[in-house]
Subunit: 122 residues, 2 copies
DNA sequence: CCCCTAATGATAAACTACTATCAATAATCA
DNA sequence: TGATTATTGATAGTAGTTTATCATTAGGGG
């Protein structure tokens, strides 16, 4: 990432505007608003360099392709809208997950996904 | 699923013996202990009919292929071992997830994944 | 014990997500 | 402005998972 191109500005713009975990497809569609001829390969290439530089990070989602979100945010979890398919961030964390862990098992990380309707769809 | 074959008995046996969410590959390897010539297509076919009959259900996992577990169990969540890659069930549930949900959003379901080391690997 | 056909194994094909290739384009700097 | 070369778009290719095909095998009723 040595040159500042319209494509990269558009992708960064979508991240900043949406502020939620985005699929490559969502990024493509969002970026094509300002750069209509953008191709999916450019999205993947840009995501790769943004990930390697630590600007964005991968979010693995159950039963869906990977999403990408801006790195460095406070600990949070995700809400997936069954209607529109968009995924949102939720601040905070359920406490006391340790009590779920069976004896002899060691907890290192955790993920929480809540499913339902977002404010636009409910 | 009209006939009771050695292959299907073997697959049901793996489910009952392991009692955790299994990948098609894990089911294949487990079933091949008793039916060595078993093919992957048979695993998928059997999973399809077991799913349609409501005997097993799909578990979507972040960043992994689908797993299958015996249906009808009490509400529970999953533990994934970073060392051996196996996934386990954990009884219970963290309470008070509702407070994570943003205003205007409606919660319908939730999933919790805990990552770490299982008792065999820790 | 036969026969019918459901079920199987091997493998090709489909599908999705992602990566590599390469000629054309455009950002940067002298 | 012109040259250099990073970047792009289009598309072929790759990888992993799941499904379809089809000749062969074997379950189970008669």
């Amino acid at each position: 990432m040595q040159r500042d191109t319209a494509q990269r500005r558009a992708i960064r713009g979508v991240f900043n505007q949406e502020n939620r975990p985005l699929t490559p497809q969502e990024l493509l569609e969002g970026a094509q608003v300002t750069v209509p001829q953008m191709g999916l390969a450019t999205v993947y290439r840009t995501l790769k360099s943004l990930t390697e530089s630590g600007t964005v990070m991968v979010v693995d989602v159950p039963g869906e392709p990977q999403r990408y979100e801006i790195a460095g945010k406070d600990h949070h979890h995700h809400f997936s809208c069954k209607q529109c398919g968009r995924m949102f961030e939720m601040d905070g964390c359920p406490g006391d997950l340790e009590r779920l862990v069976p004896d002899g098992f060691v907890m290192e990380d955790h993920e929480v996904f809540i499913y339902g309707r977002c404010s636009d769809c409910s």
